[in-house]
């Protein structure tokens, strides 16, 4: 039994961990850890009785525990040619491994990369940047806060435009039923600029559970282009929370691609708590076989003249299930908000299921908002057109699906070709209603 199902084991593990952290972390954060532990013990993992979780079956997770990696295992860096010229920070089983970094020396000197526990010890100001309450997935945030090990702190100083992209390369090598808890805090100073990639993948076939928390704080007029790629192995589970706080005139552009994990749920929560903020979220997910993929997006427009857009595209095949839940809340003071939200989905198999739910709650006057969702299938006329030119049915379906997916673009030009190859490769794994082989 793992810490998620055994109370005794959970308490013992927590005490043990805390005693190790007492010398390292400030008391205010230890207090937050204790509090999070208490809260998690009270609620446990979400169940299908929770409205926001009703589509996901989490019962297979009860065995999850902290595992041991095979220390002999070689960790490989990404083989994407476009990443050769980036700065790579490798996070193995939730812990930053400084030895496996790449190009770190090319960062401007003022940029801080450190262990989050250490950073909190010396910077009381981080208190306001960490552990933001989030909608709908607090229990996972509690679990991460109580138990994460070290964590990562990345801070870009004022007026610094980081030329090379920073890649957080998250890999898992642990064995069966391991619980992996990556934690990152990323802050951008005034008028700074960063291209950030978070890449999640398993380098094991084991069924582990990743529960990631990334908190992002954007200073005035800063700009973050953020790409997330979730390509975990097909036996694993992936939960992730991204929390973004925006300051005046800051711009957050995010693209999220997922095709991995057996069960996954990714939540992005953006607080536009300043005037003239801009936020553009896009997503593409490909779920096949028996995958369950849930994307939750929540945007709070709290101040005037904010602009937000959300476009999520879902491709669902086999007996897979896709969920998109988007909520845009325009609070009473957020006049002149401009917000739109779209969820477009492609169903490739009669057994596949998609539940798109875009929601808009408006409490302010003089705003421009829209939302919508579509679910469709491949166009038979277009399929015939391609077939009549000699292109096989499988290839024709891949091409049309690619055409559907194409609207999703990574937020960096230098990665476009590389991502297109990656996407094309992912589409060749689809069966278009045909049977998947058991793995």
């Amino acid at each position: 039994m793992g810490i998620l199902s055994s109370i005794k084991k959970r308490e013992e593990t927590f005490k043990e961990r805390l005693s190790l952290l007492e010398k390292k972390e400030p008391s205010w954060f230890l207090e937050q850890r204790r509090d999070a532990f208490k809260q998690f013990s009270k609620t446990g993992l979400p169940t299908r009785k929770d409205e926001e979780w009703k589509y996901l079956n989490l019962s297979p997770l009860s065995a999850a525990d902290f595992g041991e990696g095979k220390t002999t295992q070689k960790v490989t860096l990404p083989d994407w040619p476009s990443l050769a010229d980036t700065i790579i920070i490798t996070i193995v089983n939730g812990k930053w491994d400084a030895k496996l970094s790449h190009n770190l020396k090319e960062l401007p000197k003022e940029v801080v990369i450190s262990n989050l526990s250490d950073a909190m010890g010396s910077r009381i100001d981080l208190k306001k940047n960490i552990n933001h309450p989030v909608a709908d997935s607090n229990s996972l945030l509690f679990l991460n806060t109580a138990f994460f090990d070290c964590g990562l702190f990345l801070s870009i100083p004022d007026k610094t435009a980081v030329k090379k992209a920073i890649v957080l390369w998250h890999i898992v090598t642990h064995q069966e039923n391991s619980l992996v808890l990556p934690r990152s805090l990323i802050t951008l100073g005034k008028s700074s600029k960063l291209d950030l990639v978070e890449f999640f993948m398993g380098q094991t076939e084991a069924s582990y559970l990743t529960n990631n928390v990334t908190e992002i704080v954007l200073g005035e007029s800063s700009q973050l282009n953020h790409l997330r790629i979730q390509d975990e192995n097909k036996n694993s589970h992936h939960f992730s929370l991204t929390h973004v706080s925006q300051s005046y005139q800051s711009r957050y552009t995010s693209a999220s691609f997922s095709s991995g994990a057996h069960i996954s749920r990714q939540q992005c929560h953006v607080m536009m708590d300043a005037e003239k903020t801009q936020c553009n979220l896009s997503g593409l997910f490909i779920a096949g076989h028996n995958q369950q993929m849930d994307h939750h997006v929540r945007i709070d427009h709290l101040k005037p003249e904010g602009t937000s857009s959300t476009l999520f595209k879902g491709i669902v095949d086999g007996e897979a299930k896709g969920i998109f839940n988007g909520k845009v809340i325009v609070h009473p003071n957020a006049w002149h908000t401009d917000a739109w939200q779209k969820s477009n989905n492609l169903l490739l198999s009669p057994e596949a299921e998609i539940d798109p739910k875009p929601q808009l709650e408006i409490f302010a006057h003089d705003v421009k908002c829209s939302h919508g969702a579509t679910v469709g299938a491949l166009d038979p006329m277009a399929l015939f057109y391609l077939n009549s030119r000699g292109i096989s049915l499988q290839k024709a379906q891949e091409l049309l699906t690619y055409g559907f997916a194409h609207e999703f673009q990574v937020p960096f030009d230098w990665m476009k070709n590389n991502f297109e190859c990656f996407l094309t490769q992912k589409l060749t794994g689809l069966k278009f209603g045909g049977a998947y082989e058991e793995v």
């Binding site: 166009d379 038979p380 077939n387 009549s388 030119r389 292109i391």
Partner: protein, 252 residues
């Protein structure tokens, strides 16, 4: 090359073709004319293998093989090409990439080596001159936002690249101005040789001034009711289809 025997076809329980016969030999150009809704596109689609039709009788033999048993992509690999009356717009799919995939699929079927992007581009540039489309069409999505005439030129461009043995052109001339019509005709005449055959579905005699057919057929009431040489098209232009229909009905 192509032998259609007694073909009867229905869609949604509505019979459209009713005992159609047609024989096409290598080197020949056949024009099929007929009133709106007489089943010309249906025939063209069936030759290319579009699903959704019920074959209630007859057979089609193409180069000695049972055509109706072949998947559409196999037919294309074996040399059949349909220029669509209404070419389909495909968003997000690059025109040149699509055509390279098609070209290489057919090459692989013939156990020939696939062309890489560079060599294919060279071929495409050469064939493009034939249809007077400029290279900006390479990188647009397949037919998306093309004008009617551009779509038709794109069909002929595809035909020029894929170099079919049996080309079926379904009203490729409709809606074209005279210059576009000449371009389309020259594309077709370029393909023409003693090893290939062409079926032109058309409403107008006009196209036949530029592509001289060996045979002209009138399709009406689900079958070929009249066949003749190029002069039949001129006669139809003068007298209308009702003339051919009356003669057929008087005979029946």
């Amino acid at each position: 090359m192509l032998e259609i025997k007694n073909l009867s076809v229905s869609v949604d329980n509505k019979q459209i073709l009713n005992g159609l016969n047609l024989s096409v030999k290598a080197g020949e150009v056949h024009a099929i004319m007929g009133p709106n809704g007489s089943g010309k596109s249906t025939l063209a689609h069936i030759l290319a293998g579009k699903p959704g039709y019920e074959i209630i009788g007859g057979e089609i033999i193409y180069q000695g093989k049972n055509l109706l048993a072949m998947e559409p992509e196999l037919r294309a690999c074996e040399g059949i090409f349909l220029a669509f009356q209404y070419p389909v717009e495909i968003s997000g799919v690059n025109n040149l990439y699509f055509l390279k995939e098609a070209y290489n699929a057919i090459r692989r079927h013939r156990a020939e080596k696939a062309l890489d992007a560079m060599d294919f581009l060279k071929l495409a540039k050469e064939k493009m001159k034939l249809v007077e489309l400029n290279e900006s069409f390479f990188n647009r999505n397949v037919n998306e936002g093309f004008s009617g005439g551009e779509k038709k030129r794109n069909e002929i461009f595809q035909m020029a690249i894929l170099d079919p043995t049996l080309a079926i052109l379904d009203e490729t001339d409709s809606g074209l101005d005279i210059d576009a019509l000449k371009t389309v005709a020259s594309g077709v005449n370029h393909l023409r040789n003693e090893k290939k055959a062409i079926i032109l579905v058309t409403h107008y005699q006009r196209l036949l001034d530029y592509i001289k057919p060996d045979f002209v057929h009138v399709l009406a009431q689900g079958k070929i009711i009249k066949s003749g040489d190029a002069t039949l098209a001129l006669r139809l232009e003068e007298e209308g289809y009702s003339w051919a229909l009356e003669k057929e009905n008087a005979r029946a």
